[in-house]
């Protein structure tokens, strides 16, 4: 026979269980806006039943329940969605960083009507053509000199800005490498703590949220792959090289690379080279060591072709003072290209094809005609065409990065929605569950009061007839 005292115990258990459920709800509400938080729920289960005690089981029903217990605190989470999110995040981060960096290059190279390199190049050719029509005119010579200087300056500025953008990536890269190493340590430490908690049969829900957040950041930084092992540990690798296994980590190093202008290079501490293909680092490296280098080389090609062809013609010409054999430009690449200082005395500028011929503009005209000479890409493009082709290549690179980043963003958003839909805290839901728990709590306490009254009846009132 069950005793009334066991009923009090059952009511107590119910109070405690719903109090605990309430605590989980409080935790959810508090973390409704915490990044990476997965909602939790206290899962209730009935206590172990026991058979009714009687000598002969005279009509007494079978097993009797013993109230309610909190079985476990469940974390709402789907490893598959998380894994997809990490993959997409790695791709998105790569292309969005690449796009941002390319936008810097775009600003440096932007071709506006007033400040474009091509606009300046046009003015340069126009200057030579004007001079050819009136070769002894000092004002035209001065004008040409200024136009040439401004063209050289424009090339130099662009080369300088691209080099600066390239060098600035060192800081970006080493900061990210430091962050990866820090996160790897964090994941290894969490691996250890999570294993401890699991070993005593508890759920390390919040620790797992923390670890997932770190893994997602690692994926964004370096495209790190993460796999949960059967013992609850997570194993992280980048480009086939392990970063975290169990509680041990492998470190990445960011050191100046002598084979690449002493710019920062990434290697593993065991000497292997870094081979991450996604994440922000991959985007930074692809632009720094690919696209930017190509653009710089193209600028240099452009500058050297311009200088050598103009010089070749100019050397054969004669100035107003019959100066001849002079180079128009000095320097051989975009960064060093300058107008020859000697030409600051503008009578040295050679417009004539023969000495003592101030009215002869044939050399100036020959230089103005370089505009239509196919000097670039194995004689298939003029300087104008070559440079505008360069701009188009850059424009297409930017569009590609932008499109890929946008595509990944869409997938990432919808996966994020899926994750949020499963793991996010809904305040309405928590409010409803709170009322549910509150009512159950009230019922349990009412039950206890009733049992108390029943005991009071038996203990204090029974057998006192006539007293």
């Amino acid at each position: 026979m069950p005793s009334l005292f066991s009923g009090i115990h059952m009511a107590l258990q119910s109070l405690l269980a719903h109090q605990q459920a309430m605590q989980v709800i409080e935790h959810n509400v508090a973390n409704a806006n915490t990044p990476g938080y997965s909602r939790q729920e206290a899962i209730l289960k009935p206590g172990s039943p026991y058979p009714a005690t009687s000598f002969i089981r005279a009509g007494l029903p079978g097993q009797i329940g013993t109230g309610v217990l909190v079985d476990r605190v469940q974390r709402f989470h789907n490893e598959f969605v998380d894994e997809r999110l990490r993959d997409e995040n790695a791709l998105f981060s790569r292309w969005s960083v690449q796009e941002q960096l390319l936008r810097h290059i775009e600003i440096a190279l932007n071709e506006t009507q007033t400040d474009g390199l091509l606009a300046k190049l046009d003015l340069f050719w126009e200057g030579w053509r004007s001079l050819s029509t009136d070769p002894s005119n000092h004002a035209l010579r001065l004008d040409l000199l200024e136009r040439s200087k401004s063209l050289a300056m424009a090339l130099q500025n662009r080369a300088q800005q691209l080099r600066t953008i390239r060098a600035e990536q060192d800081l970006e890269i080493s900061q990210r490498v430091a962050e990866i190493n820090r996160l790897a340590d964090l994941v290894a430490r969490l691996n250890a703590e999570i294993a401890n908690v699991i070993s005593v049969g508890d759920q390390p829900n919040d620790l797992m949220d923390q670890r997932d957040l770190a893994l997602s950041r690692l994926a964004a930084l370096a495209g790190a792959d993460s796999h949960i092992q059967s013992n609850g540990d997570v194993m992280v690798s980048i480009g086939g090289h392990a970063l975290v296994t169990g509680t041990s980590t492998f470190e990445l190093q960011a050191l100046p690379d002598p084979s690449n202008n002493n710019l920062i290079g990434i290697t593993w501490s065991d000497g292997q080279s870094y081979a991450g293909v996604n994440g922000e680092l991959a985007g930074l490296l692809a632009v720094r060591d690919g696209i930017l280098v190509d653009r710089l080389n193209a600028l240099d090609d452009f500058a050297s072709a311009l200088a050598s062809r103009v010089n070749e013609i100019h050397r054969n010409g004669f100035g107003l003072n019959d100066a001849t054999g002079l180079d128009f430009f000095t320097g051989s690449d975009a960064l060093t290209l300058r107008v020859n200082d000697v030409l600051d005395s503008t009578e040295n500028i050679a417009a004539a094809g023969s000495p003592m011929s101030p009215g002869d503009g044939s050399v100036a005209e020959a230089i103005a005609d370089v505009r239509t000479e196919r000097l670039m890409t194995a004689g298939t493009a003029t300087l104008d065409q070559f440079y505008s082709g360069e701009l188009v290549t850059l424009g297409l690179e930017i569009q590609k990065a932008e499109r890929l980043a946008n595509d990944r963003q869409l997938v990432l958003d919808s996966l994020g929605m899926q994750k949020e839909s499963l793991a996010g805290v809904s305040l309405d839901e928590e409010a409803a569950k709170m009322i549910q728990s509150q009512r159950a709590f009230q019922a349990a306490s009412r039950l206890m009061t009733t049992l108390d009254e029943m005991l009071d009846r038996i203990i204090n009132r029974m057998g006192r007839v006539g007293i």
Binding site: D360, D384, V392, S421, V425
Partner: protein, 295 residues
Amino acid sequence: MRVTHKMMLESAIRYMDENLQKLTTLQERISDGKIIHSISDDPATLQTVLTLRSTLSAGRAYLNTANETAGWLEANETALAAAIDTTSRALDLALLGISDTSGSVERQALGSEIGGLLSTALGIANSTYNGSYIFAGFRTQTKPFEIIAGTPDTVAYLGDTGTIVRSLSPGIDMTVNIDGDAVFTPVLSALIGVRDALMSDDTATLQSETQSLRDALEALKETRTVNAARQRHLENIIERIEQAQIDLKSLLSEREDADLAETISLFRNQQTLYNATLESGRIVLNTPNLFELMG
């Protein structure tokens, strides 16, 4: 699908962001009327735009050259016309001198008048355009003709035979100057000869020198015809370049200019959308949750 408040909030933020971005793009287009603002806006069109701009600039340079050349040819024309007038007048005087009705006194007078015409002709032969001597070949900074006193006076040509050629379009070249030595030296020499013959009352020499003067005048007239033909040719070229510039400008405008009427109506439309997004965002963000409704 289970929806949480955070999802609604994030969506609302994203929609507002996207719509504002589109609004900004359209605003940028309206503000300067151009479609392309940066390289990546439309790389393919950008290439065309850059090529057109560069072709326009080349055309502008050719047009400047052509206008400059027109000025030079006009200076040629003025000088030649004046030279023809002067020479014709001198020829008339010479013929008067040859006539039997003239005596030595009259010839002296005619001679000194021709002396005056000679210095006029010398001035014409030394004409400048924009600070350059136009009949000096390449030596545009050197006064090309001088009369060196002697018996008789001689004409010295200090220029050269340089031919100034200007390119007016790809493949179209035009000679601008006139060989001063070939055209003016005979005129000046004949004038000197006629003057001296008149002064010395030497009718035989006067006859032959007058013939030289007549030949020199013919040469001047021929040169003037050549120059006039060049002027007509140049006018055609200028007209063609100008027409090409106009065509190029309209092509460029087609590529890089925004259709304002269309852009503004798109802008209005986008503005309405943005307002609607803001309104729906406001409602979403103000939606109470169950906690707030429970007393």
